[in-house]
Symmetry: C2
Subunit: 147 residues, 2 copies
């Protein structure tokens, strides 16, 4: 078995055993070395964003002192949900190795497929003009860092 | 101006002034009271996931000691990116009040529209069978909490 995916699976087991969250693990790899590994901690930390991939990206970014993980790859035990896919894209990671599918996650009670297929949020736009003012302040900054 | 959106705009300005990250702010509200407010801190914390909405959800969850924010609403100065939308859905928030659009964000150099419209990640599936083993362990747990 691929050693990176093995570590991700071990993380997933670790989370289940400790009741930290769902059975998911992820590993961030750079130049053939593991930078960070993590499992889902939604339950332990009462944080709905604490999925394995998000946790691994946060750890890797902290370790490398950069929000730009463009030289990294991620190994995750399950196809990332839309939140995690977004996190992976913002981190500039280009390649995602995954094992189980979103349907597999749904089969054990998670909602990943719903998130891909249904829109159940209500959106209400308001006060765009006021919200654009911080955008103008940002655009006018000469020392801004783009990401 | 709506007082919650005003607070979100103030947060956005706060982030720009301190060079914490992009010009975005968000507020989580429950029963007419602000539970948490936050701005983007991607640059300060070197965390690509530290968008205003994610930060506000993390703070609100911590404050309420639950990953379930189903009785909350979120006010955000800009239409949430796919990562933040995912976080909002996992938090069970049902209503999103937003000001600026993704196109407005793109106009000042962000990539939100790309994230909605293009797929530039490479996906490689591997070792599904091994990755399903933690799923089986989860399914067999009698004390599991579903989320």
């Amino acid at each position: 078995m691929n050693s990176f995916m093995l570590q991700a699976v071990n993380e997933a087991f670790c989370g289940v055993k400790q009741n930290h969250g769902g059975p998911f693990g992820a590993v961030v790899v750079k130049s053939g070395k593991i930078i960070a590994k993590a499992h889902n901690t939604v339950l332990r930390s009462n944080d709905p964003t604490a999925h394995a991939e998000v946790n691994a990206i946060r750890k890797a970014s902290k370790k490398l002192s950069t929000f730009d993980l463009s030289e990294c790859e991620i190994y995750t035990t399950c196809m990332p949900c839309p939140m995690c896919l977004g996190a992976i894209k913002w981190a500039n990671i280009k390649t995602v190795y995954y094992g189980a599918t979103s349907k597999d996650a749904d089969a054990i009670g998670f909602r990943d497929e719903d998130f891909y297929e249904k829109e159940f949020l209500e959106f209400k736009q308001m006060q765009r003009a006021e919200c654009l003012k911080p955008f103008e302040a940002w655009s006018a900054k000469e020392d801004k860092v783009t990401y």
